[in-house]
């Protein structure tokens, strides 16, 4: 016990230092006063008394010092001193400190931000979910294709029933509706989820309850909904008595039974859900009909929770077995269909699939930036250590311990990296949700949500990397300092040679690494940028400029097919009479949308499929003169017209890929195919086009007339010379005239629609450009610092050269060529590294070779230009050296 107390006293003593110093002085003064008094009492004069007392007492300062030394831990005392001194050194050289801290802050901040995105989107996307580590994405696969598909509801039930290795399965289907509260109508996104959704996720609604098991069953039997916190706050003004109130959703009155907690946004990365309904309400929200009892309708995405200790391989094996059994039991619907699970970061059906390659590359790039930043700081520290060599030598000469010097430098490095780490964390905190800012066009009411997640793992990692690297390089000068040759280095200052000693070699290596890394980044940015341009210029197979699309949400408004048909008929009539409109028609899906094309098993007259191939193709339901309106050429036969209605024989138009696959060498026009038990005659052959993205492979695709295959939800396709906003306004007027309760979605050109789908590339370009720019900036600072340092160190040599007759131009050339040599070496290595690394960018590149000479060439030009600028300033300074002064020093 007493030991402990002693330690405490010493520790407290550290912080009470100034007070106890004063106390000590007061106490000793009192002592001297006592002695003086005693001397006076024994008959001395006051002056003599005082002098005698002082003599008797001895040196006050020495006593204090002796006391102080034993009072505290000496090293801790020194540590505080070092920190004070370090802070003073940082303040004394503010440009160095600011630069170093800025570099590190950028490096740490960006890498921590990117890591937080990866953490928040890929690794731990659902912060409220209890066992994310055991959560896997569940989906279907089709034999013979790489396509991922959803699950059917009956299959989901069978999985639940038959599995033993899974704790639970949930299914979830994103859908949209138009939500009107009061006079506000906005799009809202929601999820059709299995009744066990909230329970299985372990998410407890903050108000009310989740769904009960029975609420998942029965066609349209349970109109209940759980709303999100955001919706509750935003549209219901945080009404505490919301539970039990009702809300019309797609024309059906739903009872609000719960409010989800604030941090829970659903299980679809990219979109924040506004509400959830149980699977029983599927028909109300799905524009393509009732599917709960249809084993062939694969419309839901799922997640599964493994039981503790079960590996993914074991779980997959069980799924395979269940899939096999279902194939045997239901051959018509399940032949060739299997189930697969993947870790969350590979989830194939939400934004994760699009983002993970981009994020992977971004992480690599951010790491590069961090490396460059560290190299820069090391460079700065090295340069400074040389400048401070005089100071170090002096301190050694004055008797400072070498250990003490090393500790001092160590502390300075620590101080630097701690400040930078704090700054970096701040940057990361600001940037944690910044991904949304570069994400595609938003729809009012729909919240795009790319959650960043800054947790301790991210922070520890980034701070660790930063401190580690700073310390490493802070120590180099320390080690050098510890074998400084006292007499030698006090004499010779500023007498280096251009490109001489070992230290400058180390610094050169650092610059060289920076240049190489920057080259890789710039070349990579160039590649993605070129891809984006290529993609923008690539022809999707339809007109993008003069075609505008919009839609009216009749489904949510509760229109039945008959009424909808009349509505569309009248609306199209009105649109066609608008000025500047050439044609207008319908299509169930617009190209390049998130919607899912109809897909059906096919039978083709005269085509015998191989044994295990199930014939299927995607198709779209389109109106008359669709091809003319959207600009897809008809190669043979005719396109749809008004007479292809429900009374006429069923017809279809196929694309070229489908024609060559199923009727090789024959004219497809006049052939027949069977879709959903209906034989159709092929009346036309359309040119291939892109249907979802420009990156897709061309696949068999066909079109059927919307009049023969009607759905309430359609898009309106308008070919016009007018701008999209003008059409938007006119359209709103016409829709309002037909039904005052309706409003169309904003009309956009097909070009805008196409751009939305290339956002992965845009995101990659934005991120790479930002990071590449930062890297370039840091590398040029590094180059500049090295060059200007070596110039300042070789003043004497340069002066000598000039005294011997070199002209300013020669000196300029000497310095610049030295800088360029460094850069060139970096570029060569960078180019080799880039050639190896850009191949990994495969799926971000579009019609651009990973070795694209244009991108590599521009990286070369940019780097040389930057190097020239970075070298020019110090070179000019060198050229102005006054030989007389340089030699005298």
């Amino acid at each position: 016990m007493p030991r402990l107390r002693a330690w405490f006293y010493r520790f407290a003593g550290l912080f009470r230092k100034s007070r106890t110093d004063a106390e000590m002085a007061a106490e000793m003064q009192a002592h001297i006063d006592f002695l003086t008094e005693r001397n006076v009492a024994s008959g001395m004069s006051p002056d003599d008394a005082r002098n005698s007392a002082l003599r008797e007492f001895g040196g006050v300062e020495q006593i204090k010092e002796t006391a102080r030394e034993q009072r505290v831990w000496r090293w801790a005392d020194e540590f505080v001193q070092d920190i004070r001194f370090g802070a003073r050194m940082l303040r004394r050289n503010p440009s160095f400190s600011i630069l170093a801290i800025l570099c590190l802050t950028l490096g740490i901040g960006t890498s921590a931000a990117v890591m937080s995105w990866i953490e928040g989107i890929l690794i731990r996307p659902y912060p409220l979910v209890a066992h994310q580590d055991r959560m896997v994405a569940l989906f279907g696969t089709k034999e013979g294709t790489t396509e991922r598909e959803g699950l059917s509801y009956p299959d989901f039930l069978d999985l639940q029933k038959n599995s033993t290795l899974f704790e639970s399965f949930i299914v979830d289907r994103i859908m949209g509706t138009t939500l009107s509260i009061g006079d506000r109508a906005e799009r809202a996104s929601g999820g059709i989820v299995s009744a066990n959704y909230f329970d299985a996720l372990g998410v407890q609604p903050m108000l009310g309850r989740g769904f009960r098991p029975e609420e998942g069953e029965g066609r349209n039997a349970h109109p209940v909904t759980v709303i999100s916190y955001l919706t509750w706050q935003d549209r219901y003004k945080g009404d505490r008595d919301i539970i039990g109130k009702t809300q019309f959703l797609n024309g059906v009155q739903h009872t609000i039974i719960g409010v989800a907690p604030e941090e829970f946004h659903g299980t679809f990365i990219g979109y924040s859900f506004n509400f959830w309904v149980p699977t029983s309400m599927q028909e109300t929200f799905d524009t393509t009909g009732y599917k709960l009892e249809n084993r062939g309708a694969r419309w839901i995405e799922g997640y599964a929770f493994l039981k503790p200790g079960v590996t993914r391989q074991q779980a997959q094996a069980e799924l395979d077995a269940i899939g096999q059994r279902l194939e045997n039991d239901y051959p018509e619907t399940n032949r060739g269909h299997h189930f697969e699970i993947l870790p969350l970061w590979k989830t194939p059906f939400n934004a994760v699939a699009n983002l993970s390659p981009t994020l992977g590359i971004t992480a690599a790039v951010a790491f590069f930036v961090l490396l460059i930043a560290c190299a820069n700081v090391s460079n700065l520290l090295l340069a400074r250590s040389l400048l401070r060599r005089h100071e170090m030598t002096m301190r050694l000469a004055l008797g400072a311990g070498r250990r003490r010097l090393i500790k001092q430098l160590f502390t300075e490095g620590l101080l630097l990296s701690l400040i930078a780490a704090a700054g970096g964390i701040l940057v990361a905190y600001w940037c944690r949700n910044a991904l949304v800012l570069v994400s595609p066009v938003r729809t009012p009411g729909i919240t795009i949500d790319y959650p960043g997640h800054l947790d301790w793992r991210v922070l520890v990692l980034s701070v660790g990397v930063c401190i580690g690297s700073t310390m490493l390089f802070a120590l180099v000068p320390a080690i050098q300092a510890s074998h400084v040759d006292l007499s030698g280095s006090l004499k010779s200052e500023g007498s280096g040679m251009i490109g001489g000693s070992g230290q400058s070699r180390l610094r050169s290596v650092l610059v060289f690494v920076q240049v190489a890394l920057s080259f890789v980044l710039i070349a990579g940015t160039g590649l993605v940028l070129r891809s984006l341009v290529q993609m923008q210029n690539a022809d999707p197979g339809f007109s993008t400029r003069s075609v505008v699309v919009s839609a009216v949400d009749l489904f949510s408004a509760g229109y039945k097919p008959d009424r909808a048909k009349i509505f569309y008929e009248q609306l199209l009539e009105r649109i066609r009479t608008l000025p500047g409109v050439q044609s207008a028609t319908l299509a169930r899906l617009r190209p390049f949308s998130y919607g899912v094309y109809s897909s059906a098993p096919l039978e083709i007259e005269g085509y015998q499929p191989p044994r295990n191939e199930q014939l299927a193709a995607d198709y779209n339901e389109v109106g008359e003169e669709y091809f003319a309106a959207i600009g897809i050429p008809i190669v043979a036969g005719r396109e749809f017209n008004r007479t292809d209605d429900e009374n006429a024989p069923p017809v279809a138009v196929v694309n070229q890929t489908m024609a060559t696959k199923y009727w090789p060498g024959k004219d497809p026009v006049g052939q027949r195919l069977k879709v959903k038990d209906k034989w159709m005659e092929i009346v036309g052959l359309a040119k291939n086009a892109n249907y979802r993205t420009k990156l897709e492979q061309s696949t068999p695709f066909f079109y059927v007339p919307v009049r023969q295959n009607f759905f309430v939800q359609n898009n309106i396709i308008i070919r016009t010379s007018q701008s999209a906003p003008a059409i938007s306004n006119a359209l709103a007027r016409e829709v309002h005239a037909l039904d005052p309760n309706l409003a169309p979605l904003d009309a956009i050109t097909l070009q805008e629609q196409v751009d939305v789908m290339s956002y992965t590339q845009r995101l990659a370009v934005a991120l790479l450009a930002i990071f590449g720019g930062m890297a370039l900036f840091l590398a040029s600072i590094g180059l500049y610092a090295v060059m200007s340092y070596s110039v300042s160190q070789s003043t004497r040599e340069l002066g000598m050269r000039m005294a011997l007759g070199a002209r300013a131009g020669d000196v300029l050339r000497l310095v610049i060529s030295r800088g360029l040599r460094l850069t060139a070496a970096g570029i060569v290595i960078g180019a080799i590294a880039a050639l190896l690394l850009t191949r990994l960018m495969g799926n971000l590149l579009y019609q651009v070779s990973p070795r694209d000479p244009v991108s590599f060439g521009s990286a070369l030009v940019v780097l040389i230009a930057v190097a020239l600028i970075a070298c020019f300033l110090p070179a000019r300074r060198a050229a102005r050296v006054d030989p007389a002064r340089a030699l005298r020093t």
Partner: protein, 110 residues
């Protein structure tokens, strides 16, 4: 350290201070006077070693200091023995008497 005068056996000053404080709290000069008086003027404490020793003992938690007022109305820092200090004094006294006994034996055998 090492500043104690040879007239004090090295390491005994701490014990003497504790002993001087055994009954009453005292200030620095009071402690020096008390030691001198108890030793019948044989031992004389150097001020130079007194204060470092006091701070050392305080840091060990054996004595505690407080500002107080002296008989002649001066402010002074008074030191007081703590419970731990009391135990320490006992231990050191015990130790000391064993050592001196041993030394006596050695010397008397000569």
């Amino acid at each position: 350290m090492g500043k104690e005068k040879p007239d004090l056996v090295y390491g005994t000053l701490d014990m003497l201070i504790l002993k001087a404080l055994q009954h009453d709290p005292r200030h620095g000069l009071g402690i020096a006077d008390r030691i001198q008086q108890m030793s019948k003027d044989i031992l004389h404490v150097e001020q130079g070693s007194l204060y470092p020793a006091l701070y050392r003992l305080e840091a060990q938690g054996w004595i505690k200091a407080e500002w107080g007022v002296s008989d002649n109305n001066r402010r002074a820092r008074y030191y007081k023995l703590t419970a731990a200090g009391r135990r320490q004094l006992a231990a050191e006294q015990e130790h000391w008497s064993r050592i001196t006994k041993g030394i006596d034996f050695v010397l008397s055998k000569a």
